[in-house]
Structures are given as C-alpha cells and as structure tokens.
Amino acid sequence: MLGNFDFDVIRRSLPYLFYEGMTFTVMLTALAATGGLIVGTLIALMRLSGYRLLGRIAGLYVDFIRSLPLVLVIFWFYFLVPYIGQWLTGASRPIKVGAFSSSLITFIMFEAAYFSEIMRAGIQSISRGQPAAAQALGLNYWQTMRYVVLPQAFRNMVPVLLTQTIVLFQDTSLVYVLSITDFLGAASKVAQRDGRLVEMYLFAALVYFTISCVASFAVRRLQTRIAVLR
C-alpha cells in the first residue's frame, strides 16, 4: 500500500533519471522527428512524383513498415544495421553500432513511413494553381517544391506533425526491449536495483503523462491560432 511509499528513492535517483534517461529520450525524439520528417518528405515526394516505379516502391515501403509492430522493427534494425554497415563500408565483419545510433536509425526509418503520409496529405491539400503558377514563373521541380509547395504543406500540417512527435516521444520508451537507458530504462534500472517498482513506475508514468499533456495542450492552442490566421 501507499503507507510505505518511499519518496526518497525518487529524489535520490532524480539526477540519474533526468541527466541520463530523459536526455537520451529527448535527444532520440528530436533527432528521430527531424530525420523522420526529412526522409518522410522525400518518400511523399516519391509517391507523388508521377514516376510509376518510384511511387510503387515508396508506397510498398510505407505499407510494409506500417503493418509491423514497432518492437519487431526495433529488433530488425538492431540486428540488421551492423550488417548493412559492413556492406556499406566493405568491412570484413559486421560493424559495431552503438545503442543510440541503432535506435536513432530505427526510429527515423519507422517514423518516416508515418510522417510521409502526413506530408503527402499536406502536399495534396495545396491547390493545383500553386505549382502551376510556380511553373509559369519558370521555377523547376525542386524550386517549386522548395519555395512554393513544401513550405505551405509543412505549415498546414504542423499540428499533425507535432501530435505525431508526441506519439514518437511515448514510443521511444520501447527501446526498453534493448535494455537501453532511456527515461523508462533508467527508472526501471533503479526500480530493480532498490526493489522499488511501485515508486519508480508511478513516477515515470507521471512524468510521461505531464510532458505529453502539456505538449498536446500546446499543440491544441497552436491549432486554434493557425486556424484563426488562415
């Protein structure tokens, strides 16, 4: 029961939880969101490019990744990345990949599939007159995308992209399956070391809940502000 709830174990482990764990989680979230957005935008452009083959490949990739559980994808990349690295560098044996880079690659490739669908919707929401006008002005494909279509698509989709980033922030906790010290991993290590599962897991839940709640509240406010501006 809560009678022997030990607040001190939380206080004692705060530096470890936040400096080690939360730093990892936030870094992973930020880098994976950025990388996922870039790769995802490229995939979306491939799908909308009008080249049949490119579109098919991109579509297959998105459908494939989206029908697999994240946990399985994490395992896949964890074992596959050393071999891909060996193949790319021509080394004689599978290269060593650190926990952070392995999970970063996983999350970028996984999230790219989800971000690409958002960006595709964003690009399709731009009226046809826009790229037509850009072409009339003599811009080439990349200039049209870079200066006309993508900025608007991105702007329209900002709330959805941020919501997906909050989901990503929660999903990074799954690196637990590789025994990586992210925020939950750190909490779980302390919990098992000190036999304080109840305190640590409740505290971890509270932290995730607070951060996600504040973030989604902020996204909602942003959404209404953007809606008024348009």
Binding site: M1, L2, F64, S67, L68, P69, L70, V71, L72, F75, W76, F79, L80, Y83, Q86, W87, R93, Q170, D171, S173, L174, Y176, V177, L184, S188, L197, V198, Y201, L202, A204, A205, Y208, F209, S212, C213, S216
Partner: protein, 243 residues
C-alpha cells in the same frame, strides 16, 4: 554478407520439446491473435461508452469522457502495462494483490486488458468524431419523433456513426494487433516474443524475424480484406458511405 542462412531451421525441433521452430512461431501467432481479439473487445466496449459520453449534452459526462481519453492517451503503452503488471498488485489489499500475482497466464490477461484500455481511448476519439460528423438534424429529428436519449443513440446516431468510422476502426484494430507485441516486456510469448526466443536458441536471427514479419503481413491482409467485405455489406445505399 557472411551471415549463415539456414531456411531449414523451421523444421528442426525446438529446445522446448513442443515440435519444431515453426510450431513455436505459430503458437506465438495464435497468442497474438487471441490477445488482440480480447483487447479489441475491451477497446470497443469501453470506447463506445466513453465516445458516447463525450457527445452527450451533459457537461459532466463529456468532462469524464475527456479525462478518460487524456489519461490513457498521454502515457506510453509500455508504462501502462508496467502499471497494471507490477504496480497494481502492490496497491491492492494484500490478499487481492497476491491473488493477482499468482493468476495463471497473468501476462496474457494484463496484456489484453492493458492494450484494450489503451486502444479504447482511441476508439472513443474516433466514435466521437463519427457522431460529430452526422448532420445535426439527425439528433433533432430523433428528438422530434419522441425518442429518448438512449433510443436516439441506439437507433439513429450510432448505426450511422459506426458505418462512417469503419475505415479508421480497421486501422485501430490493426494497431491493436501490433500493440500486443509490446507485451513481450511483461513476458508474453506472442509472435514477436517467440521470434525473439527462436533467435536466441538457434542464432538464426533473420530467418526468425522474416517469418514473424510474413505472419504479421498476412494477418494484416486478412483483417483488411475482412473489413472491406464488412464495409460493403453494411453500406447504406445513397448515404455518405454507400454508393
């Protein structure tokens, strides 16, 4: 690549003595399906109640619905499973906690209930959107006909709302299947778990994960096809979702 491929591994006996490695993966697949179906039933049951709560005129009701959705949406599924599995038995009175801990198949029940409640928040959001997308006249017409609130939902709003949200519900069901893989962390040997232990026993990483991947893909195809058929069967001619 100097990886040693061996596709015959599936027909070699597994160390558990329960047949060969393929049997091991298939038992994982069965557990994935069972967990997902039970979780989905829970998700629908709670999701419908909460989704309806959010659309009721009563302020309190919609606030309760809002709090429920926020509670389950703002915590990672993994953390929620840990709360149900490790924390809940400790917070209950001693006898009840002990009973929970000694329950046979505890990971299965925890996973089904945990994933079910997690998904129920998403079902609730979809249903709320579905009911919200109906023309206001529908509710008014039901009231004008003298239907009670329960009757309005039962005969007017819900049947149409469900038809509208069938496609998003399909993907939520697929998410439910995928999310059962998180239960590997509380020791449930579902498909991903079995693939992982096959990898540990046989060192044939890529064969094990390829097989699991193919099984997940097949599961997806089956669900999507079944839901398309269902969509076509329940379509109302001449209405939004009909032809």
């Amino acid at each position: 690549m100097n990886y040693h491929w061996n596709w015959h591994i599936f027909f070699e006996p597994n160390p558990m003595g329960t047949g060969n490695y393929l049997d091991m993966l298939l038992s994982g697949l069965r557990l994935t399906v069972e967990t997902a179906v039970l979780a989905w039933i829970i998700a629908l049951a709670f999701g419908i109640v909460v989704g309806v709560l959010r659309t009721l005129p009563s302020r309190t009701a919609s606030w309760i619905g809002f709090a429920y959705v926020e509670f389950f949406r703002n915590m990672p599924l993994l953390v929620q499973l840990f709360l149900w599995f490790f924390v809940l038995p400790e917070l209950l009175p001693r006898a009840a906690g002990l009973w929970l801990k000694q329950l046979p198949n505890a990971p299965f029940w925890t996973a089904a209930i945990g994933v079910g409640l997690f998904m129920s928040a998403r079902v609730a959001v979809q249903l709320q959107a579905g009911i919200g997308s109906l023309p206001r006249g529908q509710r008014m017409a039901a009231t004008a006909l003298g239907l009670t609130t329960v009757q309005t939902y039962r005969y007017v709003l819900l049947p149409m709302a469900f038809r509208i949200i069938l496609p998003p519900l399909t993907s939520e069901f697929l998410n439910t299947i995928k999310n059962t893989a998180v239960a590997i962390t509380i020791g449930l040997l579902e498909l991903t778990g079995e693939a992982r232990s096959m990898e540990e026993f046989s060192f044939q990483v890529f064969e094990a994960f390829t097989a699991a991947t193919v099984m997940y893909l097949l599961l997806n195809v089956i669900v999507v096809t079944a839901m398309r058929l269902l969509e076509r069967r329940v379509a109302v001619p001449g209405y939004i979702t009909g032809k």
